[in-house]
Subunit: 227 residues, 2 copies
DNA sequence: GCGGGGCGTTGATGCAGATCAACGGAATAG
DNA sequence: CTATTCCGTTGATCTGCATCAACGCCCCGC
């Protein structure tokens, strides 16, 4: 039931680049780039946090597991997002590529060195942590108190602000990932999406039902946070 | 069903003190102390964050509400805990006194002023935010993927490390607060506690069933994170 | 000290979502 | 191009927790 397929580790990173997060004239920090195949592990929970990552292409999921395989995805990281930033010394989630994904790697040590002297970088680092905290706080409300339809509606609205090109949400992740993010099952996700489609709130564009056009954002929002 | 009693605001704070968080010789920051009656609001979600608070006595709950009254408590703040620290300008939770509570108030502005020049304070502030994030991340796993018994077991183990005096957990909050923290109902909390009592894992000490002695922490832990 | 509301518990019942199952179409490997 | 596996959907059934209800004790105010 809760069996998960083993994921392969990828070998280490290789290339160089620059730090997208800093503003204007900042010293160069040690940078690499690397590509991960779909489903491969980027780092594992409790592993020492050596790098911070930025998504160049693709998508990443970060999650925690219970001993019997139940999984809670904490966040999806899409193009441009930075993840893997820890203030402690080890990662608190496992990170995997949802699809073929290119990452920019920043050596944590070098980043901390820059932060030491640059108040702007320091501020950005803090505001990243704060954003993560805020997201987690909102997600606690969703996981603790929203019903299935509300969760899926909230998910679509979140993705609508993040993966939309020309009004179409192109979901990189499958139903199981969505389910494990929302704390429900993949069947329940599927049923909720079907209901929203039948209600005329959304439309599936492609044949694989991962491309979604929102037809009525107002009504979708009304499925979340009900009166 | 989801009706909540209105909570009264208390007037502003009055007294002075010192900053418990700083290490050793630090400049004095603007400090006040104030007492809140049981159930009174300390600040409200979306309100500008003017102060940071430290619990001197009592306990505080911070929560978010849905429009129909469903409530998710994000954290309980017990003696010594600091809460209300926001990096943005407004509070993201509502805070209420669980019982009669004495708080130390620190003007946010003065704290930021100190942080500007003092790397130690800065580090402490960051590590506080990180602790909050870590707690929220663990709580997402609980809310998304654990069953009722596992949630209550996890709650007891968390409280065991925080409110224990002489091996006895003295819970300041009622069953409804626990339920809204764990994303279940108060009846389910009560039933889980009864089950744990009958299993010999815990014992109610007083007559009001808020004082609990853990008799078998190992078995309690086995109810959480099951194999 | 006494009365009453609040809180915790327990039982009966209901239901949203989990689980089990089957199917069809699409992506992928060869 | 074809075979195979994966993925999303839908239906049937089950179940853990929510809901509804009742009761008794404790605690608080008077």
């Amino acid at each position: 039931m809760f069996v998960r397929k083993a994921t392969n580790r990828m070998p280490g990173p290789y290339c160089l680049g620059d730090l997208g997060m800093t503003t204007g004239s900042n010293p160069i920090v040690s940078l690499n780039e690397f590509t991960y195949k779909k489903g491969t592990e980027i780092y594992r929970e409790k592993e020492p946090a050596e790098y911070v990552y930025q998504v160049k292409t693709g998508a990443v999921r970060t999650y925690k597991l219970l001993t019997d395989g139940r999984r809670q995805i904490g966040a999806f990281h899409l193009v441009g997002d930075i993840f893997g930033l820890e203030n402690g010394n080890e990662h608190r989630f496992t990170a995997e590529a949802v699809v073929k994904t290119a990452l920019r790697l920043i050596k944590r040590q070098s980043l901390e060195l820059v932060a030491e002297s640059d108040p702007v970088v320091r501020r950005n680092l803090l505001s990243m942590t704060t954003s993560n905290l805020e997201h987690a706080e909102n997600h606690m409300l969703l996981l603790g108190r929203k019903n299935a339809l509300e969760r899926v509606a909230a998910f679509l609205l979140e993705m609508d602000e993040r993966v939309t090109a020309m009004g179409i949400i192109a979901l990189p992740m499958g139903r199981l990932d969505i389910a494990d993010y929302l704390g429900i099952t993949l069947e329940t996700v599927s049923r909720a999406l079907s209901r929203l489609q039948q209600a005329g709130v959304l439309e599936f564009i492609g044949p694989n039902h991962r491309d979604i056009a929102l037809r009525d954002r107002g009504r979708l929002a009304s499925f979340d946070l009900p009166a």
